[in-house]
């Protein structure tokens, strides 16, 4: 129930044994390999090449990019689930050894080049086609245009506004309009060869001649031929796409191979952390205490010459952190990971915030029917989509939250808003009871108050663990006394109990005295000590104070607001359904409105009920006691985002 005990390991392996030993370590998967700081005349391990597999990886990635779109189509829901390929180790080894990706790569490269060529030609042909189309009614064969000795015949286009100016040259220029489109006219012109004046004139009015070199026959026929070419090219392209689609059946193997090389690259990166002398390779790492015995036995059994030493970690700051929690709490490590792991010498906050997070979430989301949907939905998700063991934590997380939302739903009489109503089961009926809202607000603030006290208490415990008993009394228990004194005082005045009032007063005064006397103890001057003590009450010097406490506790009022808004939005949907539903329409419209409305509210509710409690944990709760900054324990073993290897026993 906490942070795993970790020991430091030194391993010395003979150089000739090293490749086997390194392989063995990877298969064992128990060691977090770290870099060595004091090299002491030894040199860094030399047989490393991080870029060794870069070529293979980039080639495989090219193939994957090209073929991915022809692989299996993923539905929207499936795109949320990480894709895993599960296979046995021997299958994996077989693919790595035997699958010839190079030939796939060469073929794919050919397809890419071929397709590029075709697309290029299609583009050019289409350009020619658009330039010819306006002249399709022109009947002369193109090869005859340039045959006359004295007269030059040309086709070309001109902006309409210049059309009239052609009249100026009417003695030297024969003009025939072939067609016109928008602001352009397409012309057939004839003039005397080498007539400089006409050519100069045509240039001035920006007449652009049509290039017909290489084309023969009537334009109509040319266009027809081009269209045929185009059809053929499109078919060629389809053929290539078809080939790619066929090639995509290799995609799975290609992905497996890429994962293999990515893992190999990581292996090289880890080798960079090693050190060597003339005959030895030295490995420094970390191992979980409970793995030590087994690990030592196996090393001794297989490698007679390897020396293994285990040490108590010297510098606690650099020890990697692994969390160990019971099954029920494990899914909530998700949040710890999100905020950042604790340092090795601190403690794992997961078991402490888990009940609070569950309470917060279920207060925000609390509804019997929504909760059941969340519980069942998450369960069905695991079953229907065959979610792998590794990814199930997320769904267990929501199953637990769904279960507790049901309970809160019963206690607050929220059944998909007011679709059903069982006020006799409820403790606080937010909607039905005139004072329900106020009661809920007080409850939310009380939850906040208690969780704040709990946070301060945890900080105090941690101080004691580190041997700082006085700090714990001065900084934490003083506050707990003062704050809970206020709580007791309020209780006393509500129930009109003088005894409680007195106890409350005593606790407040006691706490405040300690805070004022000790708040400035870090300060050197007497004056600083006095001022520091008084000011720390308000919360300027120390990280905590009455102002911060008040703000943080008020922040928990969101629990009421979100819970209330989930319920009220549900009621709104029901009201709308009832309004529209009269007679026959009741059976058509009402279910539609209910389905769409509650669906929307359900998802909005989950979002809000996740986001806000997470903030309450990260900011208001963790702010009291928790520091992150630990690095994760990552054992050296085969690792891949996509592949899960089944061990053969």
């Amino acid at each position: 129930m906490a942070i795993e005990k970790i020991k430091e390991v030194y391993l010395f392996s003979l150089k000739r044994d090293f490749p086997f030993f390194f392989d063995f370590l990877k298969k064992e998967g128990k060691l977090h390999i770290d870099s060595v700081r004091d090299i002491n005349g030894l040199s860094v391990f030399r047989d490393v090449n991080v870029s060794k597999f870069d070529k293979e990886i980039s080639e495989l990635e090219t193939i994957i990019n090209e073929l991915e779109k022809f692989g299996e189509k993923k539905s929207l829901i499936k795109s949320f689930i990480p894709e895993r390929i599960e296979l046995k180790e021997e299958e994996f080894n077989k693919i790595v050894k035997e699958f010839d990706y190079k030939s796939v790569y060469n073929r794919v490269l050919d397809y890419i080049k071929e397709e590029e060529r075709i697309l290029d030609r299609i583009k050019n042909i289409k350009k020619l086609l658009t330039s010819l189309l306006p002249y399709s009614s022109f009947e002369l064969e193109l090869e005859n245009l340039d045959k006359l000795k004295t007269i030059k015949l040309v086709l070309g286009s001109l902006e309409k506004k210049y059309l009239l100016t052609l009249d100026r040259m009417k003695e030297k220029l024969i003009v025939k309009i072939v067609s016109s489109h928008r602001n352009k006219v397409f012309l057939f012109l004839g003039y005397k060869r080498d007539d400089r004046e006409v050519e100069e004139f045509l240039r001035k009015i920006e007449f652009s001649p049509l290039d017909v070199s290489g084309l023969t026959g009537k334009i109509k026929d040319v266009i027809e031929n081009i269209n045929k070419d185009l059809e053929k090219l499109v078919k060629d392209r389809e053929r290539i796409i078809e080939k790619k689609r066929k090639e995509a059946k290799n995609l799975k193997n290609i992905i497996i191979l890429r994962e293999y090389y990515l893992d190999k690259r990581r292996e090289e990166e880890i080798k960079q952390r090693l050190i060597e002398s003339k005959f030895f390779v030295f490995i420094r790492g970390w191992i979980k205490e409970r793995d030590i015995r087994d690990f030592r036995d196996r090393v001794e059994e297989r490698f007679k010459d390897v020396i293994v030493e285990f040490h108590e970690p010297k510098n606690l700051e650099e020890v990697p952190v692994a969390l160990r929690n019971p099954k029920f709490i494990k899914p909530f490590e998700l949040l710890t990971g999100m905020y950042g792991f604790p340092k090795y010498h601190d403690f794992d906050p997961t078991p402490y915030f888990t009940p609070l997070f569950i309470l917060f979430f279920s207060l925000c989301f609390g509804d019997v029917i929504y909760g059941s949907l969340l519980l069942l939905g998450s369960y069905l998700f695991i079953k229907l989509f065959k979610i792998h063991e590794k990814d199930r934590g997320f769904f267990y997380f929501f199953m637990i939250l769904g279960f507790f939302s049901i309970i809160v739903g019963v206690l607050t009489n929220s059944w998909a808003g007011d679709l059903l109503s069982f006020p006799q089961l409820a403790v606080i009926d937010i909607i039905g009871d005139e004072n329900g809202l106020l009661k809920m607000l007080i409850f939310a603030l009380a939850v906040g108050f208690i969780s704040q006290l709990f946070g301060i208490f945890l900080k105090g415990l941690n101080n004691i663990r580190h041997g700082k008993l006085l700090d714990a009394i001065f900084d934490q228990f003083s506050w707990i006394s003062a704050l809970s004194g206020i709580g007791v005082y309020i209780l006393g005045s509500t129930f009109k109990s003088p005894a409680l009032l007195n106890v409350g007063k005593f606790m407040i005064i006691g706490g405040v005295i300690i805070i004022v006397l000790t708040g400035g103890r870090e300060s050197k001057s007497i004056f600083g000590k006095v001022i520091g003590g008084v000011v720390s009450l308000y919360g300027i010097v120390s990280s905590y104070g009455f102002s911060a406490a008040l703000a943080d506790i008020l922040s928990y009022s969101r629990l009421l607001a979100l819970g209330f808004s989930t319920t009220v939005l549900g009621i709104i949907m029901n009201t709308m359904a009832r309004m529209f539903g009269k007679g026959i329409m009741l059976f058509i419209l009402a279910p539609l409105i209910l389905l769409a409305g509650h669906g929307l509210n359900f998802f909005m509710g989950i979002l809000g009920a996740f986001v806000h409690p997470t903030r309450l944990i990260f900011l208001e709760f963790f702010g009291r006691f928790y520091e992150n900054g630990g690095k994760r324990f990552k054992p050296f073993k085969f690792s891949s985002e996509k592949i899960i290897l089944k061990k053969i026993d």
Binding site: L76, S79, F80, L334, M338, Y339, E434, L437, L438, L441, L554, S555, S557, R558, L560, A561, L562, F564, S565, V568, L569, I571, I572, T575, M604, L607, G608, F610, V611, H612, T614, R615, F618
Partner: protein, 160 residues
Amino acid sequence: MENMLGLVFAIMGMMAAISLGGIGSAIGVGISTTQATGVLSEKPELYGKLFVIMALPGTQGFYGFIEFFWIMTRLRLFSGIPQISYSLGLQLFTIGFVMGIVQLFSAIHQGKVSAGSINLVAEREEEAGRAIILPSLVEIYAVLALIASILITNIVTAGL
């Protein structure tokens, strides 16, 4: 006419809450979604993660809607047109309007924070979990305004 004035103000208050909240959310979601479309054109696989962040500034519209509905329920508008005094109408208008203003501005600013979060996810996908939390730092004020408005609505309509 004279005795309808209270109802007119009450309706103005209801509509102020819903429309200011709605406008704010529309602008806020507009800001975050525009940002997201840019990112999605480069990394379409982030759709699932970004969609959640895009939608975050949308809640203010619903908070406005809740206040709208709450006044409606408290006045029992579903079962006919009630007699509402001039002063009660003005009180409800003030509540709806002021509450709406908070929704309006918080939604816009939440939209900006969401856009920032979207950038964060675009650069570092693994930060998605934290990026989702950031816009809630702004949203709390909309939540507080909602709580305050509902509590005070309860108080002023207690006699009805």
